[in-house]
């Protein structure tokens, strides 16, 4: 088995140690960093697909994300400052009035595993706090979660508020969570919606035009 296949399998099965060994082995053989990242992304996409089909569940998905994150630590020094490889920042938070963070944390993990820098600004986050974080962090995506139906108005207001902000053209807005569906997301003007954590990664990549 070649190191690329080993890396793919290691991420898919959530084996951090094997993922790191495979990356080190591949690097020592002169494999391009972009190729390694691509392999891991493919593995995570497969993880997302399996999760969406209920072939795997949260534990398996999370160790896969952990394996990729672990392997990415080896690659990070080679990525920093390289605009081709750096995937950019995502600001994520749960909307004001909602204290739930399980879904948000899952999505954040998937983003981190795929090489994004994630700025988690927590739960019960006001629209002003989202905007402040956007100004400070300059993210490529802002991901807003809502579990409770009672906060949907707040979510809609926040999306409108952020769309009107000065820096609007520099970032995309994603929404998700138990209370949200694609129809609502479209109605309030979000750029993207995901039904689960696996899909969230795909949507984020589509929004940014990343393969």
């Amino acid at each position: 088995m070649n190191s690329s296949q080993e890396l793919f399998d290691a991420v898919l099965t959530g084996n951090s140690q094997k993922a790191r060994i495979a990356v080190e082995h591949a690097l020592s053989n002169g494999t391009d960093v972009r190729e390694l990242i691509g392999t891991m992304n493919s593995a995570m996409e497969e993880v997302g697909r399996k999760f969406s089909r209920s072939e795997i569940f949260l534990p398996e998905m999370m160790v896969a994300a952990r394996a990729m994150k672990s392997a990415m630590e080896i690659l990070e020094p080679l990525i920093v400052g390289n605009p081709i490889l750096a995937r950019g920042k995502i600001v994520i938070g749960t909307i004001k009035g909602d204290l739930h963070d399980i879904g948000k944390n899952l999505v954040a993990m998937m983003f981190k595993g795929a090489g994004f820098e994630v700025v988690d600004i927590g739960v019960d986050v006001s629209r002003e706090a989202f905007l402040e974080s956007i100004r400070q962090e300059s993210p490529r995506i802002v991901a807003i979660c809502a579990l409770l139906t009672t906060v949907l108005t707040e979510l809609a207001d926040a999306v409108a508020f952020l769309r009107d902000s000065a820096a609007r053209n520099d970032f995309k807005i994603m929404v998700g969570g138990a209370a949200v569906d694609s129809e609502f997301a479209e109605r309030i003007g979000a750029d993207g919606y995901a039904d689960d954590a696996g899909e969230a990664l795909q949507v984020a990549k589509q929004l940014l035009g990343i393969a």
């Binding site: 959530g14 999760f51 209920s54 795997i56 569940f57 949260l58 534990p59 398996e60 999370m62 160790v63 952990r66 204290l99 963070d101 399980i102 879904g103 944390n105 993990m109 739960v123 019960d124 409770l148 139906t149 009672t150 969570g177 138990a178 209370a179 039904d195 689960d196």
Partner: protein, 355 residues
């Protein structure tokens, strides 16, 4: 058909027999609603709503909010640190769960020593106020009583390790999970048994195992890992045990049957639970309770929407018994009390089996 008392109605439903009408139930009522509807009185609130099932007094918090007949409905001040018998404000509680201003933010149980440290003493009487409970049960013989608490073994294991960390440990060190799960099981079983001694007719065991569209772990793993724990609780309780879980629990309902649970509560439609499908597959094996959407129908002032939602649930699950009309989670702070009243009133009207 002769009108039954609430207790007769509920016990009849739990046995799988046909009562005079569909009983009404909730898992919890937010203190704000209790203040608005019942002037802070738990009994009055349940009476105003006309609920068939009342809770016995028990320490019962969820996400920092005292629910049901919690020992106190007062949320502690910001600076108070939990760690005593109350769980759920600031700091680390007796189970190793970390809270910040009433919101669960993580768990601290990482080692065998932590397991020893964060298995609390039972101190059952501190948790349940036996005298008050006995008086309540004695004075309301017409009502059914349940012990409703959100400290089931699976959720408590997950929360005391921490959401993220739990799943890593689950994959890396399954015996550690099993040990903690059994400690939580033994603890809950004693609470359940004490509830039965004090007069509860059944236990409503809050134990979240799913979320929107998914279960946390695979149904096969759940059957292997959690079913023996639930079965042990059922045996020790000596009264029927109904399971409350958020999320899409349909794939776990076979596990509920295997464990000997009498029924399941919440059946969240927004998470993907189709009550009609569940009734078809499990209506002869489990008491189904819930499915009235508390996210949308109960927060507004459109009472026709409420009636439509109640009608839908009745149409899908009333036939043949083994159904309790209830919200899909709890009567949370965002609910409109008038919508909640209408839900239960209309349920009493169309829930009769002689029409």
């Amino acid at each position: 058909m002769v009108e039954m008392t609430s207790r007769e109605r509920v016990l009849c439903t739990l046995r799988g027999d046909l009562p005079d009408r569909v009983p009404t139930l909730t898992f919890g009522i937010d203190p704000k609603i209790m203040t608005a509807v019942g002037e802070g009185s738990i009994t009055r609130t349940y009476d105003v709503f006309g609920l068939d099932v009342h809770p016995i007094f028990c320490q019962n918090w969820c996400q920092g909010i005292p629910l049901n007949a919690a020992l106190s409905l007062d949320v502690p001040p910001d600076q108070q640190t939990a760690g005593g018998t109350y769980a759920g404000w600031n700091g680390v509680d007796e189970f190793g769960r970390l809270w910040k201003r009433g919101s669960y933010v993580g768990g601290v149980v990482k080692s065998e020593e932590d397991i020893e440290r964060y298995v609390p003493q039972l101190v059952l009487d501190e948790r349940m106020d036996p005298e008050k409970t006995r008086v309540l049960v004695k004075n309301r013989p017409d009502k059914a009583f349940c012990l409703a608490t959100h400290t089931g073994p699976f959720g408590l294991t997950l929360e005391s390790i921490g959401f993220e960390e739990f799943f890593y440990v689950y994959m890396d060190d399954r015996p550690f999970i099993e040990r903690l799960l059994w400690e939580r099981t033994r603890w809950f079983a004693e609470i359940a048994a004490r509830g039965a001694e004090l007069g509860a007719d059944f236990v409503l065991m809050g134990d979240d195992a799913a979320f929107k569209g998914r279960t946390y772990i695979s149904p096969a793993d759940f059957e292997e890992l959690v079913v023996p724990c639930y079965a042990a609780i059922v045996r020790r309780a000596g009264i029927p045990v109904m399971w409350h879980s958020d999320g899409y629990i349909k794939p776990l309902l076979n596990a509920a049957v295997m464990a000997g649970l009498v029924g399941v509560h919440s059946l969240e439609p927004k998470a993907g639970v189709d009550l009609g499908e569940v009734k078809k597959a499990f209506g002869d094996k489990l008491v189904l309770a819930g499915n009235v959407d508390c996210g949308e129908a109960l927060i507004g002032s459109d009472l026709e929407l409420v009636r439509r939602e109640v009608r839908r649930c009745m149409t899908q699950a009333k036939e043949g018994g083994r159904y309790m009309l209830s919200d899909s989670n709890s009567i949370h702070a965002g609910c409109n009390p008038e919508a909640v009243k209408e839900m239960y009133r209309y349920a009493r009207e169309i829930g009769r089996y002689d029409i």
